[in-house]
């Protein structure tokens, strides 16, 4: 039957169907393009109409009359039941909220809530499985307005399979609950990318938290590089040295990048007791990036204990140039202990090394 189909009118029929489908898809594409342009046009026309009205309202009631709550929203005569109007109003309010701080900022947030956006956001987060973006946006709104969310909903969001929702929930907790939420956040953090880690880091450092919490307790070699990096970045930001935990990570050697980061943290946190161990590690180590990190860390420690090692590396012509560069940089960082060594090197060196030294010392060279 199949054979007779293809020997008869089968092929032309298939091509006809394909042709009609292509035509239909093409028409759909054109309609799609038109819809995008129409939506854009509609948004812009609403924005142009609503912006002056809302701006004047904010100036009059928030900035001049100092109204804190119970805003006469009905005077705006905006149809907030319309989705497009709500979208535009929300956008405009966001713009103002980000530029107005202090007491007035709080009034702005009250205005936002009185317009019913907090309820809308609360509704959205209850339907998180369907609308990832809406949930993330709502969580960000609720964090901005400092609105509390019911614990069972929050638990559900923190356990969401979508990483975007989880990260938004972590950020919400940081912004609303601050330090109290750290245990809850760090105990459940998983599956995040480096960018998510950076996002959470930024959320924490932008709060007014001053840093008595021990982030190092969460370091664990079984966790991913992104998660451990987050803790180490926070340790560095809040200057919390915990050599023991950092060395555990280094010795576990699960991920090279984690080890690199841990050595970097040791240097930035001035782990002076670690210098000998770092020297030993340098001799054992084969990876160039790790070696560079060790030399940089030793330079930061600046105790003058490793001058011989740094001098040897710099003098070693077989060594990679970048390693020699960093060795010299670290020698400079060891001043005043390294002053005589640097003077000796300056006098001894050949023309090529001299070029290298002058390059490193050049005031216009900023990156290495």
């Amino acid at each position: 039957m199949i054979r007779s189909f293809f020997e008869g009118d089968g092929w032309p029929m298939i091509v006809w169907i394909a042709l009609v489908l292509s035509f239909m898809f093409w028409t759909a594409c054109l309609i799609g393009i038109c819809i995008f342009y129409y939506r854009d046009y509609r948004y812009r026309s609403h924005y142009t109409r609503i912006y002056p009205v809302l701006r004047d309202f904010i100036y009059e009631h928030v900035l001049i009359a100092n109204t804190f709550n119970h805003f006469p929203i009905e005077k705006l005569s905006l149809d907030l039941d319309k989705r497009i109007v709500r979208k535009v109003v929300r956008q405009i309010l966001h713009e103002f909220i980000f530029t107005i701080g202090g007491e007035k900022g709080r009034s702005m947030r009250n205005l936002f809530n009185e317009m019913g956006f907090d309820k809308e956001a609360q509704y959205e987060i209850r339907h998180s499985a369907k609308h990832v973006l809406a949930t993330v946006r709502s969580l960000s709104d609720l964090a901005l307005m400092q609105v509390n969310i019911q614990d069972d909903i929050l638990k559900q969001l923190l356990g969401s399979p979508r990483v975007e929702i989880r990260v938004a929930a972590y950020k919400y907790l940081v912004q609303v609950e601050g330090e109290q939420a750290f245990d809850r956040i760090f105990a459940g953090i998983y599956g995040i990318s480096e960018l998510d880690a950076l996002d959470i880091y930024q959320s924490i450092v932008l709060t007014d938290y001053v840093g008595a919490y021990r982030f190092s307790q969460w370091l664990d070699d079984s966790k991913t590089c992104a998660v451990n990096s987050l803790y180490m970045d926070l340790m560095v930001y809040y200057q919390q040295l915990d050599e023991e935990e950092l060395w555990k990570l280094i010795m576990a050697r699960k991920e090279l990048r984690t080890v690199q980061k841990a050595i970097n943290a040791l240097g930035k946190l001035l782990a002076r007791a670690s210098e000998d161990q770092l020297q030993c590690l340098f001799h054992k180590e084969q990876d160039l990036n790790l070696k560079i990190e060790i030399i940089k860390a030793i330079g930061r420690l600046g105790q003058g204990k490793s001058i011989d090692l740094l001098e040897t590396i710099f003098k070693d012509k077989n060594s990679v140039l970048v390693l020699r560069k960093h060795a010299y940089r670290s020698l400079i960082a060891q001043k005043p202990y390294s002053t005589s060594c640097l003077r000796k090197l300056d006098n001894e060196v050949e023309s090529d090394d001299d070029k290298l030294i002058r390059y490193i010392n050049h005031p216009m060279v900023h990156y290495f």
Binding site: P12, V15, C29, L198, Q202, D233, D352, M364
Partner: protein, 478 residues
């Protein structure tokens, strides 16, 4: 004889069917890929990376050869990108005009002592310049002996670059201010190590640029540039975003590509002998990762981040496409060991075979197909009804794919503010198969023939028309 003709028909039919299936897959995969990308992008504030003091550093490497007309504005454009940690390395590849003098004068440059580690091969670096002005501390100018290729100049830039990521771009390209943020977001948001990231490129021929920054994107007026704009949109949004879904991107464009410097160096840097140096580089990077049994990703993002001046004369366009065709042929020949080799995983089993069968062979199949068609007409062996039906279908399908790419482009962002631009672009899709496509096929075949007979390639110079010059101070558009 009848069996022979049937066999040929069968081969052509199978080839077309496979191509159709690939396009349908790309249609689906690109939609998913773009949707996913936009969801991620919209769920995060762009300021996160922008405000972060721990963002990884990026070195922008841009080679310049006889770019005197536009160099100052273009360097200024690169210096105004939004990103917390980056440097700009401009490589003056032995320009014969006053490119270097203009840079020295404009940016108050002085020669500094240097010692370069030639980690990747390049011609001798004569001097390195830095600016006395602290506001230009990010700028480094490398003056080197002309190496006869862009690859050699980029290698020099890589040797001088300080940061772990390299953004390779052309100095005449106009980049969006948030280029580095978008590209680095793609790097930091990946599960595996990202060795290269690319973004969409389009034509700047009729766009309005002020002080090296794009003010308004407009559809190119010259018809050849307009065809290329359409081709780029289709190739990036449908092709590369589709392959992005499978982590099977074959190429990151030389106009804009972010690379992991460590892998770039481990793979040996750009090959100055290759005519398709960008694709060849990505090929070698992927193969290096596979040989070391390391997982990796090559990513693409749908946002247009780079505007470049496309060739608007037939001569320049064919010369460019001949070079691309020869480059592709060189890659297929020199890396043939990867073909269907399981050692190279998805690169050897999907990317390379796709390139060989559907990119390299496509123009040859097309030409052979036309000859076969003519033969059938002459021998009266054609079923006219079916032939016309097939032609109409192929024509309609190609218009649909182009329109779909335009739709995706609008979904990502509405770059054209004027409605007539989008209407014109949609209409261009109707004439492209008759006017533009034959030029591309002809150039490819010519490139293959030249490569086969070992003809020496002349790079030639693309004359800059300075369409990227600033607007008059009163703000009136050109």
């Amino acid at each position: 004889m009848k069996h022979f003709i049937f066999s040929i028909e069968f081969i052509f039919g199978l080839y077309c069917l496979l191509l159709l299936i690939v396009y349908m897959m790309l249609f689906r995969m690109s939609s998913i890929s773009i949707k996913k990308n936009l969801r991620k992008r919209n769920s995060r504030r762009i300021q996160t990376l922008l405000e972060s003091e721990i963002a990884p550093g990026v070195s922008i490497v841009a080679p310049a050869y006889n770019e005197s007309v536009t160099i100052v504005n273009n360097v200024r454009s690169l210096m105004t990108l939004f990103y917390p940690r980056y440097e700009v390395v401009i490589v003056n590849d032995g320009s014969k005009d006053d490119t270097l003098q203009k840079l020295i004068q404009e940016f108050d440059l002085v020669e500094v002592d240097f010692l370069v580690d030639y980690m990747v091969p390049c011609k001798e670096i004569k001097a390195i310049y830095k600016s006395r002005d602290i506001s230009h501390k990010r700028l480094t100018i490398v003056d080197k002996v002309n190496g006869g290729s862009k690859a050699d100049a980029v290698n020099a830039g890589i040797n001088v670059a300080s940061f772990p990521y390299i953004l390779n771009t052309d100095v005449d390209c106009v980049l969006a201010n948030d280029t580095l943020v978008h590209l680095m977001e793609a790097v930091l948001d990946a599960k595996e190590r990202v060795i290269a990231v690319g973004a969409t490129l389009r034509m700047s021929n009729s766009s309005y640029v002020d002080s090296g920054m794009l003010v308004e994107a407009a559809l190119p007026k010259p018809i050849l540039a307009r065809f290329q704009e359409m081709e780029y949109i289709r190739s990036y949004l449908l092709g590369k975003m589709g392959w992005n879904y499978l982590n099977c991107i074959p190429n990151v464009s030389g106009g804009l590509g972010l690379f992991d410097k460590e892998i770039l160096i481990a793979a040996g840097g750009y090959d100055s002998q290759s005519l398709g140096e960008d694709m060849e580089m990505v090929t070698r990077m992927c193969m290096t990762m596979c040989e070391n049994d390391e997982k990796y990703e090559v990513k693409y993002i749908p946002q247009t981040l780079c505007w470049t001046e496309g060739p608007d004369s037939l001569k320049m366009l064919t010369r460019q496409r001949i070079r691309w065709a020869r480059g592709l042929m060189q890659i297929i020949r020199s890396h043939r060991k990867a073909f269907l080799n399981p050692k190279y995983k998805r690169f050897g089993l999907i990317v390379f075979p796709y390139n060989a069968i559907f990119e390299f062979l496509a123009p040859i199949m097309e030409i052979l197909g036309i000859f076969f068609y003519v033969y059938l007409i002459l021998t009266n062996g054609i079923n006219w009804q079916m032939a016309i039906l097939l032609l109409v279908f192929v024509y309609m399908f190609s218009i649909f794919l182009t329109s779909f790419s335009i739709l995706l482009d609008n979904y990502v962002y509405k770059y054209y503010k004027r409605r007539q631009d989008i209407v014109r672009l949609c209409l261009t899709a109707f004439i492209e198969p008759f006017l533009y496509h034959p030029i591309i096929v002809y150039s490819s075949i010519k490139g293959y023939v030249q490569e086969l007979f070992g003809k020496k390639h002349a790079w030639g110079e693309m004359k800059r028309k300075g369409t990227l010059s600033p607007l008059p101070s009163d703000g009136t558009k050109k």
